[in-house]
């Protein structure tokens, strides 16, 4: 039964997710023009979206004098609404891509162009200094993902520049944020065709690998993969040091304790506005409940007082019985 729950949860995660990376789509985005953002490059960008904004595109074949309708390669589709909801929504396509793309057919050598990385724009810029992109980069270089860089692993594998949006910092619904963030990992880790682009490893069965986790479905829906699979770094907003699986958190008490690591990871942005209602790590209670981490201070005190009063009454009763017994023996 747990397995069914887990499977349902995993599917829910995938369906809930919106724009984690290129192939993860939400129904809200696909096909409908619901973006409210008005780009100053809208007309320019529309030249690209005309073909790249949906599954099919049309062009005039001048040689044959025909109108051709064709399928757009999935990897080359950027849904307009997803783009205009993303962090990079204010950009023009040609800010990052060559002006040469405005020509059709696109010149073949453009495919070989060097793409920007995050640090090309975000590195060394005072405007972004508070996000510590350089430290994110050095964390990434220590992570398990970095060793695959020669095979093509880049920031974009997780943070699609066309669709990615920050989530946990601005979350209003933490469950949706968790689903969004987990979909980024599942995009490769539960899709073998994408996974094998980067590795020759056998397919990973996420549900089976996490069999040891009690209430797996609840865990998958209530925490992000990175809670257990990264090393916490308080200097950067989200930890990027993805650990080898042997080093992933397996001790329940890392989260299920008064000093829960969730307060330094998933709840770090909310924890500053701490609740004061007697619950330890009370901020977690806004969206979840973690056994061991959410003890109630008042209940702790009340239960201790009751326990000691009961024990005291018993001890006094025993003392009277002993006194009575020795009196009876004497008589």
């Amino acid at each position: 039964m747990f397995r069914i729950f887990s499977l349902v949860s995993l599917l829910t995660l995938l369906s809930l997710s919106s724009a984690g990376s290129s192939t993860v789509k939400s129904e809200n985005f696909v096909g409908k023009d619901t973006a409210t953002f008005v780009s100053s490059f809208e007309a320019d960008n529309n030249r690209c979206f005309k073909c790249h904004g949906q599954e099919k595109y049309q062009y005039a074949n001048a040689t044959l004098g025909t109108q051709v309708t064709d399928m757009m390669c999935v990897e080359r589709i950027i849904h307009k609404n997803e783009f205009y909801s993303s962090n990079h929504k204010s950009f023009s396509c040609t800010d990052c891509h060559s002006e040469e793309y405005t020509k059709f057919p696109h010149p073949g050598q453009l495919r070989m162009e060097q793409m920007y990385t995050c640090l090309d724009c975000h590195g060394g810029d005072v405007k972004f200094a508070k996000y510590h992109f350089e430290e994110i980069d050095s964390e990434y270089r220590k992570s398990i993902h970095f060793k695959m860089e020669n095979e093509g692993f880049t920031c974009w594998k997780c943070h699609n520049p066309h669709t990615y949006k920050i989530s946990v910092r601005t979350a209003t619904n933490l469950k949706e944020t968790i689903a969004y963030d987990n979909a980024i990992c599942l995009n490769c880790h539960s899709d073998y065709s994408r996974f094998q682009l980067l590795t020759d490893r056998a397919e990973i069965n996420i549900i089976k690998e996490h069999d040891w986790l009690p209430n797996q479905a609840s865990h998958f829906a209530s925490v992000r993969c990175i809670e257990c699979h990264t090393k916490i770094n308080n200097n950067i907003p989200v930890s990027h040091l993805i650990l080898p699986k042997e080093q992933a958190v397996r001790r329940c008490n890392e989260c299920h304790s008064q000093n829960s690591i969730l307060m330094a990871s998933l709840y770090k942005f909310e924890s500053k506005a701490q609740r004061h209602d007697g619950f330890f790590n009370g901020i977690i209670l806004n969206s979840s409940y973690v056994i061991g981490a959410n003890r109630n201070e008042y209940l702790n005190y009340i239960s201790l007082v009751i326990f000691f009063v009961v024990m005291l009454v018993i001890i006094v009763h025993i003392a009277f019985r002993l006194k009575n017994r020795s009196k009876n023996i004497k008589e």
């Binding site: 040891w212 001790r251 329940c252 299920h256 009763h317």
Partner: protein
């Protein structure tokens, strides 16, 4: 006097054993921290053991309720309204003063009356109020998917858990008092012997 038939002794033994496991593992889940994670049983093992013991306890509770419905044993749990408060008072005064003066039991054990009034009310509260609440809230925590997500804006899981640990605590206190009062037989060990052999030995025997 033969007072505890085999099925009651078996139920009682399983209940006691499972409850002890549940107390230890429950405390282990609620109170272990990273620094003392390996104390007692540790979280992961505690979860498995707690779930296992809980299922046995639930089945055992079904045995208890069914047994009480099908046999005569249920009558011992029926509380009469007549002199209810004064009988409770009488028993309480006996435990706190009378027994030290060498007074006789106000409600001696017989085949018609297995429990004194104080015992009866605590057993009824424990077995028919706290136990069902403990079991229902426990099932809610075992299968959080079926728990109501919010009740008047408060997470259903928090309410379920608070109910569960409160009932667990009350029953733990009940167990401590229960074990202690069991030393108040004709000899400190005679009541324990009774629930093992089935035969009750009273002061009058």
């Amino acid at each position: 006097m033969y007072l505890y038939p085999k099925w009651i002794r078996l139920w009682h033994l399983i209940n006691a054993a499972m409850f002890l496991i549940l107390i230890v593992t429950g405390l282990s889940m609620q109170y272990t921290d990273k620094e003392n994670a390996s104390y007692v049983v540790g979280f992961a093992k505690a979860v498995r053991l707690h779930n296992f013991a809980a299922i046995i306890l639930i089945l055992n509770y079904i045995l208890f309720v069914t047994g009480n419905l099908l046999t005569n044993n249920g009558r011992y749990y029926r509380i009469g309204r007549k002199n209810f408060i004064s009988n409770l008072k009488k028993q309480f005064v006996y435990y706190s003063i009378g027994m030290f003066k060498g007074e006789k039991h106000p409600f001696p054990v017989s085949e018609e009356r297995k429990f004194n009034p104080l015992q009866k009310i605590t057993y009824v509260l424990a077995m028919y109020v706290a136990f069902p609440l403990l079991i229902i809230s426990g099932i809610g925590l075992l299968l959080p998917e079926i728990t109501i997500t919010t009740v008047f804006g408060i997470s259903g899981l928090i309410l379920t858990d608070i109910l569960h640990i409160t009932m667990g605590f009350c029953l733990t206190i009940f167990m401590i008092i229960h074990i202690y009062t069991c030393t108040l037989g004709s000899k400190p060990t005679s009541l324990f012997r009774g629930i093992i052999t089935g035969y009750h030995v009273s002061d009058e025997d």
